[in-house]
């Protein structure tokens, strides 16, 4: 039995708003094993994105503990080292607009991993080829379609050789015809055995690739199960209501 790569224990998170404190996570506990693909779904405002961002400490937590790859985040002296091992893909891509696709992939390799120029270029070219846009390496983000941008963003995260990949609604800002090209890349990645935590409403992907689905609502984990079981036989009323809504569409 291997140790879980991500351990989340009784995590609470508050946001300061103008109307006081908003309790975003209310004691969430979760364990993710190496190589596992976990999809988190839930209505908006349920805390799923917050949970994801807490895993690489883009958000700090107020109570509880998160341990990634054996390092507790709360006491981590060098959070940058942890972050380098955890790739993240954003809903709005967040590519660096002043750099070409190739340079986007090279920057963090050079600055954080201290790789040589040639090594970084080779790695970047290989990854661009893997996500299928090697012919666009000298294009700037503004010259790429949404799907292409998101694939560059995935390649950029992969260039750091992360042990874990976090996806924060990677397809929700895309046109329907571009969603597939991104999901294909993600499926490929899942097949290779990458540990992935995906916040998404793509049920197709969840069914095809996820080892486990987690349903969140109002800061709690409502239900977690393997996909088939969860879709066929949801236990809680909240899950049923939610699933009926998204499957209707």
């Amino acid at each position: 039995m291997t140790d879980p790569i991500i351990m989340i224990q009784d995590v609470h998170k508050f946001f300061n708003t103008s109307r006081g404190k908003f309790h975003a996570l209310k004691g969430v506990s979760l364990q993710i094993m190496p190589g596992e693909v976990v999809t988190v779904i839930g209505p908006s405002g349920s805390g799923k994105s917050t949970l994801l961002r807490c895993i690489n400490r883009l958000e700090t937590i107020d109570r509880g503990s998160i341990t990634v790859d054996g390092i507790p985040l709360s006491g981590a002296k060098n959070i940058n080292k942890v972050r380098a091992e955890v790739g993240m893909v954003f809903q709005s891509f967040n590519l660096f607009p002043h750099k070409t696709a190739l340079e986007n992939l090279m920057l963090a390799q050079r600055v954080v991993r201290k790789r040589g120029r040639d090594e970084a270029v080779e790695k970047a070219r290989g990854l661009l080829k893997k996500v299928g846009i090697h012919d666009k390496e000298s294009s700037y983000p503004s010259q790429l379609s949404g799907g292409q941008q998101q694939r560059v963003a995935i390649a950029r995260a992969l260039a750091m050789d992360p042990k874990i990949m976090l996806f924060d609604e990677p397809t929700s800002a895309l046109d329907p015809e571009m969603i597939k090209e991104v999901l294909d890349v993600m499926l490929e990645l899942a097949k290779e055995g990458m540990t992935m935590v995906v916040v998404s409403h793509e049920m197709g992907f969840a069914r095809a690739a996820a080892d486990r689905i987690i349903i969140m609502d109002e800061g709690y984990i409502v239900e977690e199960n393997v996909p088939d079981e969860l879709f066929e036989n949801p236990k809680s009323e909240r899950t049923k209501a939610f699933l009926s809504k998204i499957i209707k569409h």
């Binding site: 883009l58 080292k81 972050r83 091992e85 790739g87 967040n94 660096f96 920057l107």
Partner: protein, 671 residues
């Protein structure tokens, strides 16, 4: 661009480039044509009018094609000098001035000198350094203490006991105050007073009762004597390691009053290197006085030895030069002033008067109309005078068709041991194509100040801008304080503040002892001073002006940078951080490159605004474009063409710079 566009329509439209030009011209807004027309008009005026050409020449520092006088060598030498006298000039409450010896100073403090309202009801209190000093008590004064003095007793022969001092003064004392008597000689300071005489007789030491008075410090001087005999007056704060020892005339010739005070003086020798024999370097430091002699007045011209007056300056040397005999000039015009020594005449067709010493005039050839008229008479008194023939000895430094210019004062030579020189550098001379460093006034100074101040302002702005987005409250509030303070101060006030408050404060700052090391900014001031001398050839407010402009604009640029950084989406920082970059790395590689592209247009705007605001340094008497124009007006009383020219040059500069800014914006534009 302007000349081309206005001429374009006249050209035949048969080649491609001309067609392109017309197409371009058609795309220009209407005011561009107006501007072009204005420039063409200005161009024609300048090229046809000698007056305008001369103004332009003056504003660009009168450049020449080549010059052989490229630079002066500047040596800084620490010399051991003898301090002969330290004296203060004070203003007394009644407004009169008094010179006092440093020995009589009792105390100094910053404060207010109350004026004598009974004597003058309208008088105003003065603020500054108040010096308390001792004055011998007179009748009716209640002495506050006694000071010990030495003098020679005057021969007995009256009711009073009179004591003489070697400096020529004497005082009546109470014989009861004498503490000791001896026979001997009191030496006088013949360096300071060449005609003084040593006093021999009965030397008495006596107690002199004194009262205290107060005065406002006006100036402080030290008279020093160099080893080669050269005497000069300097500021006491330029002296270091001041040491006083007892001495006798046998040991040291310049031992006065039994004391010998030495100090280290940092001397700055500026001049042209003439000879160097390996050990010593001889530097010619010319204190120029030139005389122009029209060709028709030259009687005879021969080469000969020009003798210098060593009594006036021990550093001068005879030299082989030219001796010019000149015919006395005839001056006629309206008499404006007549004294026992000289007459002042306003020559016909001129507005300023010339003063001619009566000793130079041939009295028999003086003609007045009306006859024997005087200045006091009603109506104008016209006079024609002829000067005696005279001889001018010196070096011919300029020879033209109209006449020759002779430098009369012998150049002063200073011999230096190069090993003793603390620093050596070169100060620029005339502006010429082969001596660009000499182009340091007018439009060049405006450009220099603008570029340097803007460079510094960019650095300040970037650092403060980054501080303004910091999450650390100390850093954030510190930077906000700076921005609000500076932004709320008029730039003109800031410049004056730097020149007259911060500059002198730093210069006179005493080292602050911080335990392990001493901290003082006066070294920093000295470095800035050296830079000023290297650029302008003299100490000036240049560094204060540049720093004032830089710090003033730094506040504006900080806000520009802050806005630029905040305009970059939060996602960019998150993406960079999620890849493992630290905050500084993310700033440098991701946020700033984007922010700078956003802020390029406002940065360019501020650059042009700074160029125009650089005209404010005129108030610090720096010879920038505007200042040279103003000086030209004071000479010629022609404000209209000069201000037209000054404005035109500023517009031209801003147009060129805005083109440069636009080019840079284009270069950095993202697809």
């Amino acid at each position: 661009m302007t000349d081309n566009t206005s001429q374009a329509p006249e050209e035949p439209i048969n080649n491609r480039s001309a067609r392109l030009l017309v197409a371009r011209a058609g795309a220009l807004p209407w005011w561009a044509f107006l501007l072009a027309l204005l420039f063409v008009y200005a161009f024609i005026r300048i090229s046809t009018s000698e007056e305008y050409q001369d103004i332009l020449d003056a504003l660009i520092d009168r450049p020449s094609a080549t010059t052989s006088d490229k630079f002066d060598v500047v040596y800084e030498v620490d010399t051991e000098v003898q301090v002969i006298q330290e004296a203060l000039t004070l203003r007394q409450p009644d407004g009169t001035r008094v010179n006092i010896d440093i020995d009589d100073v009792e105390g100094r403090e910053e404060g207010r000198l109350a004026c004598d309202r009974q004597a003058d009801p309208d008088c105003v209190d003065q603020f500054g350094q108040i010096v308390t000093y001792r004055v011998p008590a007179g009748d009716g004064d209640t002495p506050v203490g006694t000071a010990e003095k030495r003098g020679v007793l005057a021969p007995e022969g009256g009711l009073f006991t009179i004591v003489n001092f070697p400096n020529g003064s004497s005082i009546i004392i109470d014989p009861n105050n004498i503490t000791s008597r001896e026979e001997g000689t009191l030496l006088c300071n013949h360096v300071l007073q060449p005609g003084c005489q040593d006093l021999t007789g009965e030397i008495v030491t006596f107690e002199l009762p004194y009262v205290l008075k107060q005065g406002l410090l006006l100036r402080e001087d030290a008279v020093i004597r160099h080893p080669d005999g050269y005497v000069e007056t300097v500021r006491p704060n330029r002296l270091s390691d001041v040491e006083t020892q007892e001495c006798t005339r046998e040991e040291i010739e310049t031992c006065f009053g039994g004391e010998y005070t030495t100090a280290i003086f940092r001397e700055r020798v500026v001049g042209t290197e003439v000879t160097s024999d390996g050990e010593n370097i001889k530097v010619r430091t010319v204190n120029e006085q030139t005389v122009f002699i029209p060709r028709e007045r030259i009687i005879n011209l021969e080469s000969g030895l020009v003798e210098c007056d060593r009594n006036a300056n021990p550093r001068c040397q005879d030299f082989q030069g030219t001796i010019v005999a000149r015919e006395g000039a005839v001056t006629s015009g309206e008499l404006s002033l007549e004294t026992n020594r000289s007459v002042s005449i306003i020559p016909e067709g001129q507005t300023t008067s010339v003063e001619i010493p009566k000793a130079n005039l041939i009295q028999d050839e003086e003609v007045r109309s009306p006859e024997n008229c005087r200045v006091e008479d009603e109506g104008a008194c016209f006079i024609t005078v002829k000067e005696k023939d005279s001889v001018v000895a010196g070096r011919i430094i300029k020879d033209t068709d109209e006449g020759i210019t002779v430098q009369t004062v012998a150049p002063v030579f200073v011999e230096l041991d190069p090993d003793e020189a603390e620093s050596t550098r070169r100060a620029p001379l005339g502006c010429a194509l082969n001596n660009i460093r000499g182009c340091n006034a007018g439009i060049w100074l405006t450009l220099l100040v603008t570029f340097v101040a803007y460079g510094l302002a960019l650095m300040i702005g970037l650092v403060v801008g980054l501080m303004r987005v910091s999450s650390n409250p100390v850093i954030y509030h510190l930077s906000t304080f700076y921005v609000e303070l500076i932004r709320g101060t008029p730039l003109l006030v800031l410049l004056l503040f730097f020149a007259f408050v911060i500059g002198p404060t730093i210069r006179d700052m005493k080292p602050i002892n911080l335990g392990l090391f001493e901290f003082s900014l006066s070294g920093f001031y000295a470095i800035l001073n050296d830079i000023e001398v290297a650029v302008l050839g003299e100490e000036s407010f240049l560094s204060e002006a540049v720093l004032g402009l830089a710090i003033g604009y730094g506040a504006f640029l900080a806000e520009v940078f802050r806005a630029g950084i905040q305009s970059v989406g939060r996602g960019q920082m998150e993406a960079a951080r999620s890849l493992g970059m630290s905050y500084p790395q993310a700033m440098r590689h991701v946020i700033l490159p984007q922010a700078i592209r956003v802020v390029l247009p406002p940065l360019g705007n501020d650059f042009i605004a700074l160029l125009k605001d650089s005209a404010l340094i005129t108030v610090l008497a720096l010879p920038d474009l505007l200042q040279l124009g103003r000086l030209y007006i004071t000479r010629t009383f022609q404000p209209i063409p000069v201000y037209l020219m000054v404005s035109l040059l500023y517009v031209l500069l801003t147009l060129l710079l805005s083109m440069m800014v636009r080019y840079i914006e284009k270069r950095f534009k993202l697809p």
